[in-house]
C-alpha cells in the first residue's frame, strides 16, 4: 500500500488518466444499468406493485395479456378469493383538448378485488363509477389534473380523472384504471366475455380450464413485448463494458509494470520481497478503481437528480454496489496479469547483467 500510494501521489498525470478511464467506464456501467433497471421497472411496475405470482390467460393468447380473452364459461369454476383479481386490458390513447395525447394501458378492475383495493394513490381517490378513472402519476407531469375529463381512443364519452396512482406502469406505458364495464365497452367484446386475465398473489394458484392456462408471473413478464430483448441488449452492453474495463486496467497496468521493471529489479536487489511488489501492484489497482468508481457514483447521483423524470433511469443501491464490486473484481483480475512478470524480475538486471 505504501509504494502504491506514493507512486500514485508522485505520478499524478499518469494515474489521473487511468482513474479517468475507470471513472468513464464505471459511469457508463452505472448509466446503462440504471436505464436497464428503469426501463425494466416501467415494464413491470404495476405487476410488482400487485405482488402478483401467477396469471391465468387464454391458452391460445401466446402468454399475451392484450391477446387474452376469458369468457364467463372459462371462469365458471375459477376460485377468485381475496388474493385473486380479474383484469381486462387494452392499449388506448388518452386525450384532453389542449393537452398532449398519452399512449396508455387501460386496465379494467373490480372494486371488490385486491388490485382496486390496493391502489397506491398519490392524490385524489379511487374511481367509483364507470365514468371515473384513476391514472398513473406521469399524467400529472404532462399537465393533467384531478377533475380533467379525458376521452379514450377518440370516443365521445368522457371520463373524469379522480386519482393519480403511484408506480402504475405496465409495458412502459402509464395505466388508466377504470371499471370492467368500461373495459368491455372500449374493447367491444362479446357479451359472454368476462375478463382478459386472472391475477393471483398466491404462488401455488392454479386454474387450468379448457381455454385457460396458469403461468408463473415471470414467464408472463419475460413475454412482455420487447422486455427480454431490451434486457438482453442492456446486459450485453454492460457485460462488454466490464470486459473492456478488465482489458483497459490490465493493459494499463501491464504497460506501467513493464516500464517499472528496472525499479522492481533495483528493489529486488535491495532485498525488497516480491510479495511487497505484488502487493503494491494489486493495491494500486484497487486504489485506482475505488477512486474512479467513487467519482462515478457521485456524478451518477448528480445525473440522477438532474435528469427529468421522463427519463426512465433508476440508480439503486443494488446497481451501485454490484457495479462497484464488478469493477473492483475486474481491477484485481487486471492487476494479476502483470504479476508473473514481477515475480520473474531478475534483480541482477539492476546492475545491467
Amino acid at each position: 500500500m505504501f509504494l502504491a500510494l506514493k507512486e500514485i501521489k508522485h505520478e499524478k498525470l499518469r494515474y489521473g488518466l487511468i482513474i479517468l478511464m475507470i471513472f468513464l467506464i464505471s459511469y457508463l456501467i452505472f448509466m446503462l444499468s440504471s436505464l436497464a433497471v428503469g426501463l425494466a421497472s416501467q415494464n413491470t411496475q404495476a405487476i410488482k406493485g400487485w405482488k402478483a405470482q401467477k396469471i391465468v390467460l387464454n391458452k391460445n393468447a401466446n402468454v399475451s395479456l392484450s391477446q387474452s380473452i376469458l369468457t364467463k364459461n372459462d371462469l365458471k369454476d375459477a376460485k377468485i378469493g381475496k388474493n385473486e383479481a380479474v383484469i381486462g386490458q387494452l392499449g388506448i390513447v388518452a386525450k384532453k383538448k389542449g393537452k398532449t395525447s398519452i399512449s396508455a394501458q387501460f386496465l379494467g378492475v373490480k372494486k371488490d378485488q385486491f388490485i382496486y383495493q390496493d391502489q397506491d394513490l398519490v392524490a385524489g381517490k379511487k374511481a367509483k363509477t364507470n365514468n371515473q378513472v384513476t391514472v398513473d402519476s406521469s399524467f400529472r407531469d404532462k399537465g393533467y389534473r384531478l377533475g380533467d375529463k379525458i376521452t379514450l381512443n377518440g370516443s365521445k364519452k368522457k371520463y373524469t380523472i379522480v386519482g393519480f396512482a403511484n408506480n402504475a406502469k405496465i409495458n412502459i406505458a402509464p395505466i388508466v384504471y377504470g371499471s370492467m364495464k368500461t373495459w368491455k365497452k372500449l374493447r367491444m367484446v362479446a357479451p359472454n366475455v368476462a375478463a382478459a386475465a386472472i391475477i393471483s398473489k398466491k404462488s401455488n394458484y392454479k386454474f387450468n380450464h379448457a381455454d385457460a392456462k396458469t403461468y408463473p408471473i415471470k414467464t408472463f413478464i419475460n413475454k412482455l413485448p420487447g422486455y427480454t430483448a431490451q434486457n438482453l441488449t442492456f446486459e450485453l452492453m454492460i457485460g462488454f463494458l466490464f470486459v473492456i474495463s478488465l482489458i483497459v486496467i490490465a493493459v494499463f497496468l501491464y504497460i506501467l509494470t513493464m516500464q517499472k521493471m528496472h525499479n522492481f529489479a533495483v528493489m529486488r536487489a535491495q532485498g525488497i520481497p516480491s510479495k511487497t511488489l505484488v502487493g503494491a501492484t494489486i493495491s494500486q489497482s484497487v486504489i485506482l478503481v475505488v477512486i474512479g468508481v467513487v467519482i462515478a457514483i457521485i456524478l451518477m447521483w448528480l445525473t440522477d437528480l438532474a435528469l427529468p423524470s421522463a427519463v426512465p433511469m433508476t440508480f439503486t443501491p443494488t446497481i451501485m454496489i454490484s457495479g462497484s464490486l464488478g469493477m473492483l473484481v475486474m481491477g484485481i483480475i487486471g492487476s494479476l496479469i502483470p504479476i508473473k512478470s514481477i515475480l520473474k524480475v531478475d534483480p541482477a538486471k539492476a546492475i545491467g547483467e
Partner: protein, 224 residues
C-alpha cells in the same frame, strides 16, 4: 574478521560453442573495516563478480561464504533476505526508487525490515556525514548525481549491512567528488566497520583501498 569469501567460484553463461566463462576459479575475501577495489576493463567480469558476491545470481560452481555460511545454494527468498540484512548495494544508476523522496527511501526499508536498521540518531549522523541531511523531502530527479550517489549510500547503509557492494560508484563524478566519495567509503569501512567492495575502473580510487584485485577475462589477481 572475514565477512565474505569466494572459493573457486566459476560462472559460465550459455552452452556449447556459445559458452562464455565469465568468472574462472575466483578466490576472494574481504574483512570488516576494509576497502577492496575490483578493477578491470569492461567485459572482464566485474559486474558478474558483483552479482554473485551480492547473491543476485548463483555461481555455476564454487562456494560463497557470508559470515562463514555458504549461500551459493540459497533460494530466491533466502537470497532476498540476505541482501536485505547483510548486503548493501550502491549501483551505477543509483538504487533509488524514483517516486519516493529521500526520507521515504528509508521508510520503504522500515516497511520490509522492521529490526536492526539504524536508529534515528545514527541515521541523522550518517546523513550529516554524507552531507544530505537537508535533502529529506527531495525526490531523486531533484538531486544532482553526487547527491543521488550519497543518498544511495545512505540507503544501502540504513539496513546496517556487514558488506557494502558498489558498482562503478564514481562513474559520473568529477575529480573533487571522486575524492570525497573515496574518503567517504574509507571512513565507512573504518568507522562503521563495514567491508566495502568497490567494482570500478577508476584508478583515482586506488589510494583509498586496502586491497586491490584486478580482473581480466574472468580471472582475478591481487595487486595490493
Amino acid at each position: 574478521m572475514t565477512v565474505i569469501e569466494l572459493k573457486d567460484v566459476k560462472k559460465v553463461y550459455g552452452k556449447g560453442e556459445a559458452q562464455v566463462v565469465a568468472l574462472n576459479d575466483i578466490n576472494f575475501q574481504a574483512d570488516k573495516g576494509e576497502v577492496v577495489l575490483i578493477m578491470g576493463p569492461s567485459g572482464a567480469g566485474k559486474s558478474t563478480f558483483l552479482t554473485i558476491a551480492g547473491s543476485l545470481q548463483k555461481p555455476t560452481s564454487g562456494e560463497i561464504l557470508i559470515n562463514g555460511q555458504d549461500i551459493s545454494h540459497f533460494s530466491a527468498k533466502q537470497s532476498g533476505e540476505l541482501r536485505l540484512n547483510k548486503i548493501g548495494f550502491v549501483l551505477q544508476a543509483y538504487n533509488l526508487v524514483p517516486f519516493l523522496n529521500v526520507k521515504e527511501q528509508f521508510t520503504l526499508i522500515d516497511k520490509v525490515k522492521k529490526q536492526n536498521n539504524l536508529s534515528k540518531e545514527k541515521l541523522q549522523g550518517l546523513l550529516k556525514q554524507l552531507g544530505i541531511e537537508k535533502l529529506l523531502k527531495k525526490y531523486p530527479n531533484e538531486l544532482s548525481g553526487g547527491q543521488q550517489q550519497r543518498v544511495a549510500i545512505a540507503t544501502a547503509l540504513y539496513a546496517n549491512p556487514d558488506i557494502l557492494l558498489a558498482d562503478e560508484p564514481t562513474a559520473s563524478l568529477d575529480t573533487q567528488n571522486v575524492e570525497e566519495v573515496g574518503q567517504l567509503f574509507k571512513d565507512l569501512a573504518k568507522k562503521r566497520d563495514k567491508a566495502v567492495i568497490l567494482v570500478t575502473h577508476d584508478p583515482r580510487l586506488e589510494k583509498y583501498a586496502d586491497h586491490i584485485y584486478e580482473m581480466m577475462d574472468g580471472q582475478m589477481t591481487q595487486k595490493k
